[in-house]
Symmetry: C2
Amino acid sequence: MTERLAAALEYARRHEADFLKNLQDFVAFGSISTSDEHREEIEKTANWVARRLEALGMQKVAVMPTAGHPVVYGEWLGAPGKPTVLIYGHYDVQPVDPLDLWHSDPFEATLRGENLHARGASDMKGQVAACLNAVEAIVRTGTLPVNVKFLIEGEEEIGSPSLADWIAQNSELLKADFCLNPDAGMLGKDHPTITYGLRGLASFELTVSGPSHDLHSGVFGGTVHNPAKALADLLAGMHDENNHIALPGFYDSVRPLSGEERAHLAKLPVSDAFVLAQTGVPQVWGEAGYTSVERAGGRPTLEINGMLSGFTGQGQKTIIPAWAMAKITCRLVPDQKPEEVYEQMKRYLEERAPKTICWDLKMYGGSEASISDIHKPWVTALANAMESVWGTPPLFKREGGSVPVVGMMQSSLGMESVLTGFGLPDDNLHAPNEKMHVPTWHRGIETLVRFFFNLG
Amino acid sequence: MTERLAAALEYARRHEADFLKNLQDFVAFGSISTSDEHREEIEKTANWVARRLEALGMQKVAVMPTAGHPVVYGEWLGAPGKPTVLIYGHYDVQPVDPLDLWHSDPFEATLRGENLHARGASDMKGQVAACLNAVEAIVRTGTLPVNVKFLIEGEEEIGSPSLADWIAQNSELLKADFCLNPDAGMLGKDHPTITYGLRGLASFELTVSGPSHDLHSGVFGGTVHNPAKALADLLAGMHDENNHIALPGFYDSVRPLSGEERAHLAKLPVSDAFVLAQTGVPQVWGEAGYTSVERAGGRPTLEINGMLSGFTGQGQKTIIPAWAMAKITCRLVPDQKPEEVYEQMKRYLEERAPKTICWDLKMYGGSEASISDIHKPWVTALANAMESVWGTPPLFKREGGSVPVVGMMQSSLGMESVLTGFGLPDDNLHAPNEKMHVPTWHRGIETLVRFFFNLG
């Protein structure tokens, strides 16, 4: 261990209480992004982050306007020839209702046992603070071994609606070797985790229509095709008996899971029992030939997100509904393209929909899956840092969800992201009593300090 | 033709204008039964009917209370040894919104060409008035050749919720040989029609549930069975590829259509083109081996009346919904029993539902189909009357819908109903610009006069 690293780690250890105090200040802002009434808190939070970046010696610090809530930017480029890390984070948080389920004020961080309870403690003010604290530990005891840029946005919890434009307009400013995105979590407190793949998305609305108006099911029942029944048939046919997706050509551009990946995924502590416990379903389900972990992260899916047709109130209404609608999303894996899936869905409907009904397929948009090369130096730097701290190599995970900002970094800046974070599965994200496990958080700060030195 | 019949018909012809004027008074009441705000109009209408019955010499005339809107009763039993006809009708009407689509005030009857436009003109104040006018023509020129009882209710348009109890409490009062129910219509102005069969109903709500809460489709998509998908599979399997209903044993107690019935049904002017025109569907659909008319009247059906699951608002929400629900009704034919169909549906679900989801089947109730013997003397009396007026025998029709009061008469009083009426398919029932074809209505009055004499 170099002296500089040792000094930084020593600083971090001595300042654990200060770091926690600082986080308590950060989470005290009610920076809920979903409604305009919290606009003032949003601005206060952005300014707090900006002042913190200035205090750490960052340059060009600015609270930069977007079409929505501002982005906080700051950079330090004093390590020429060394890599530049773009650190992504968000300072906004989810709403707190139902408030009566909280055991303490969501904006007054409360330590109970090893956990700090507050909205944003884990998602993700705690993660942003970990990065800032790691930088503090280094700059108070020396200088940063790498160049850093911070992009801390205020609209992640509402889907980052203004960020793509802002990134496109600031692509020069944001140039970096890769993006560190600590908005992903760990699979358990003894399992440091690197998320190297995310699924993409293709989102549809399928409407089946028949009669021009709801019909009396007595008068016309038996003579016309019920649109809800026709929709049910079409939806049922979208999977075969092995739960493979039956859209023509759907798997043509699906990149198979490699042996190395399957070995990594097999190590994840995500058993079927875990799925049962988390969801409450009576049995797991899915595509034949793959484990639950493989299906959730490495295989595409087709899900019905919603269905609506006819009468849905109390009691009965004896109609043949005029139309029936299903919302459908496909989670995509490399190298599927959302537009291709739209064409496959259209072809399926053209081939299968009977002439007794009409159908309309609307595409809401989509995003491609992303996958990072786990042999890139920054992944190795992070993995080694984790192993130093935990004494065990990290788990490599493919995440089933989609993180829009990772796609933006990829498409707008051509930049890969490495996703990590120090939150735990039971942190109650987006729910009452959100918490953060303080000892894990301190390990996270140490990991980040080591990561910067490993990179440098 | 007897002198008494000739005199009554002559009276009816001379008083056509008076009859129409009288109907205009009847439809002027806004006796909408769906909401309490029209209660005063309901009472005025009931009193108007009662006064009219008194004016025709009926006895025991009373506006009798029920749990809801009152029933108007009146009887004349001055023909001992002759049959007794229970005449059913309703004095309530459907709401009139959207009012701006009406070309004239719905409660100010307006003659345009041969049609009288008003709410209730056809459904069914016009039909009740036809019966009253027929009785008037006879009693003003002699005496009734049969005994009559009138039961005119005020809740038909809201499903007759209070009538079953009221009938049960007044079963002695209502004793009669059969019920004349003029709440059915004609298949065209040149097609007098007798409806001799009605379908029954069995009504269900099927809920499929899986996870204890809506899940993130990225995190869990591919590992748990989507309840909306499972419901779609179950619904899809309820019909086979010939559109036969696939519930086990469903057809076991279905009475086959006889050769005589198929011959009668083949005469009905209800072509596939008629179904297309009335419904706007691109093609007809249904059970293989039967015509549209046979399927609508003489064969059972299974229809989805509504479906609901997950997110149905604008845009997308990437969830696996916790549950999915479908409202289902079966139209039944003799000799199916609603409870049997419930057991069949349950068995289907027990056999077909996968262990990866849970399901719950609720039964809302049901009614058996009814069918009348078309060789009964009152059917012959009506058929002969129609042939005398139109010069053509009536069409014999099985109606696809269910008329609750027919079931009540059957189960509570053991009484068969003969269904007829003088409304036409384009009368805009329940819709703006409801109308009645005046020349057909006068023929209807003449038919009823002849009917009473044929019976006597």
